[in-house]
Symmetry: C2
Subunit: 453 residues, 2 copies
């Protein structure tokens, strides 16, 4: 009879007592739902708005931007950047020959760097209408990058000089030491020399102070100056071709997504934000959040992988560590440390570590880095848009308590929830900022009667 028995005492899988925990099929389910949902939104968008992708309108926009740029002010402004580069170069030459002494070095560097940041503020602030929006943005980005690079250039050369003078003092002091010690020192010097022999081809200070070296640093995809950058042996043609193709394709996809997806969403959000209708605001925010986030992800890949790798490949620059795995970041602090390594490395090397060395606490050094980052972010938004709000600054400063909260969550509920907070702040923070800025920009630049539309 036993072979007809098919029932036996068993628990259902969803009951806790079954101990069953294999739900990996639901990961595929999630991916599929995401794909189908995305495809449906795409269809809905095309049915509602038709095809709005139009490369010609981009060209027309760039042409219009050119025409509002009287007398080619933007290219001239960018050319003027060379003055600062040449001035910094001249300054380093004087310093190398010890023609400037004492604290004057610090004053002149600080003044020069401040001028670099302030020139766009004044010129673009006073003669705003003489530059196009595109032009103003490019100017601010170029001047900010120059500010960071020249800061690094000045500081590294300063370190080299300190070391040089320290070595001189050391060798002078050596003559007073007794014999045995000198012999030991000699042995050390010997091993040091063999080290030097190995690195014979490495450039030593002040041989690095050439114009070609400085311009290479300006072109290279890094913000941290070094006398001897690691160099690659050859240009990998297939790699370069693929990265360049990515730059072209992804930038076109970005423009298409912007025209087809972002502009209608932002426009549609205008009324809801003017009325401050909470539910519609939330709906609009979420409607914008996903395309904006996908745009940001694509932009990240375009900038940090495709573009910087293209540049590095062309310049034989071997360090491609432009980003780390921020997508696995388990708290907000880790995210900021991993997502933008050029800026992060610069901040650690030129702000955080020097502050620690002069006995500031880790917390105050971190806060200083964040405040500087917040100021520069604000700078890159306020000056081009000619809107002096503190939205971006506050958005950056919020990251400090958010980092604290996410670390708490991580240690209390596990790394998964910390990661969730990182993603949430990324997905929801940006579109909120964009809509607030867009709303205020429209209110400022458009006729007030348009509001009643």
């Amino acid at each position: 009879m036993h072979h007809y028995r098919i029932h036996e005492p068993r628990d259902s899988l969803f009951s806790w007592s079954s101990g069953f925990d294999r739900y990996e099929g639901f990961i595929n389910w999630g991916g599929l739902i995401l794909l189908l949902g995305g495809f449906r939104l795409f269809l809905e968008n095309v049915i509602k708005y038709g095809v709005r992708i139009n490369p010609v309108s981009w060209l027309l926009w760039v042409k219009h931007e050119h025409e509002t740029d009287y007398y080619y002010h933007t290219p001239l402004f960018l050319l003027a950047a060379n003055i600062h580069i040449l001035f910094a170069f001249y300054l380093e030459h004087l310093l190398a020959k010890d023609k400037i002494r004492g604290n004057f070095e610090v004053y002149i560097h600080t003044a020069h760097l401040a001028i670099i940041l302030l020139i766009p503020v004044f010129i673009l602030g006073i003669w705003t209408h003489m530059f196009s929006l595109l032009g103003r943005t490019v100017i601010c980005v170029v001047y900010t990058v120059m500010f960071l690079k020249l800061w690094s250039y000045a500081q590294v050369n300063h370190w080299c000089r300190s070391e040089r003078s320290w070595r001189k003092k050391l060798s002078r002091r050596r003559s007073f030491t007794f014999r045995k010690a000198q012999e030991k020192e000699n042995a050390e010097m010997h091993s040091e020399k063999s080290d030097e022999a190995a690195s014979l081809c490495l450039i030593q200070y002040p041989d690095n102070l050439t114009l070609s070296d400085l311009y290479y640093f300006f072109a290279a995809p890094t913000l941290c100056y070094e006398l001897n950058f690691p160099r690659s042996q050859r240009i990998r043609k297939r790699f370069l071709l693929r990265r360049m193709l990515e730059v072209i394709v992804i930038s076109n996809i970005l423009m298409a997504m912007f025209q087809q997806w972002i502009i209608p969403s932002v426009k549609n959000s205008f009324q809801a934000f003017s009325d401050l209708d909470f539910m519609r605001c939330a709906e609009r925010l979420l409607k914008l959040a996903i395309p904006n986030h996908i745009l940001w992800l694509s932009w990240f890949y375009l900038c940090f992988h495709s573009f910087l790798n293209t540049l590095a490949e062309l310049l034989y620059f071997a360090d491609r560590n432009f980003y780390q795995d921020w997508w696995n970041a388990q708290n907000v602090g880790t995210f900021w440390r991993l997502w933008n390594l050029p800026v992060h490395k610069w901040a650690v090397r030129h702000v955080f570590v020097p502050m620690i060395k002069i006995k500031y606490s880790k917390l105050s050094a971190s806060v200083a880095v964040f405040v500087l980052s917040a100021i520069l972010h604000e700078y890159l938004v306020s000056i081009p848009l000619h809107m002096y709000k503190i939205g971006v600054f506050l958005g950056m400063m919020v990251q400090i308590p958010l980092g604290y909260i996410s670390t708490k969550v991580e240690s209390k509920f596990g790394p998964r929830w910390g990661n969730m907070i990182v993603w949430s702040s990324l997905i929801l923070g940006q579109p909120l900022g964009i809509m607030v800025y867009y709303h205020d920009y429209m209110v400022k630049t458009l006729d007030p009667t348009m509001l009643d539309l």
Copy 2:
């Protein structure tokens, strides 16, 4: 100088050469996007349609269904089901006493089972308007379950009788064997007896032929008859309470989702399907697919976990194996084997294995199971809706080539892609069927001039 060096030759993580493969953060990303996207759709729905959830309208609908059900036809029809149960019971009594012999047993069983399935076809087909839609559905479900259970009851009792007569023959033959063999047999008998002593409380055929046993089988959450079902020791009150609460809460959620989400989507799809506008049809299909799928998932949990466990707990029925982990199924065939175990077990025990035993091939036995399943699915849709199409039948039959394709995909591209096909067919197959049926139902029952709306 070496402590100022921060660059070293490294690949970017996205480059193949980096060998980096830790992207688990994107799983959290997917979950979050899904959650936010779902929440936005919820907001959009509420803004567009307002709150449509209304428990009173369900009560009104049930009341209306009752009123269209003249003279309580449905309860009477359901009461009549007892006639078949009593007839089956009487038949087994006659068979146990060997009052029916030879092939007549097979004929009478087949005739009885056919009548059970055909009675609703004729009565509901001829006097359709005397029963409500709800009543017709309940009748078809109850009669189908009865059909399956009585089939199992008849077959298991038949197996018991075969075994009984085989044992009788065996014991008669034993008297002719020589002594040594008989001693050996005795030893075997002895061990068999101790087995029997252990299972002393087990009911043997024909002691199982009581009305209470038969009605317990009808109430129990299984389609496979057994003389001794595994029983639980006690009713776990907390478990029972939780399952009952789930039944109430989830069924209300289901009704709410149906009113708020499915009805507007299906109604909106009507015009697109009438026009056969392909892009809008696809958009509508996807718009319906996700809520329908979530409804199906909730329904699955409600039926197979909450409801069947409630029933089993109340009846001290210990085998809770109502479903397996179909969500990890790597091909369509596996999905069908795992998702509905009561029916699957019935099909294997009462169709597949008996066919294999009389030398049919595995393939033809599988196809027979599928065809029977397809017929019963079609039965449960066509009879209540009074629409004799073969849509559901074809939908089920498509599973055979789909199973073949998904097995090919699984072996060629890996289990993940097989699982994807299973989910896709689940997510997309159902709403297509629903829309086609809804469209035809509307065309059939409504005024043809309404089509131009």
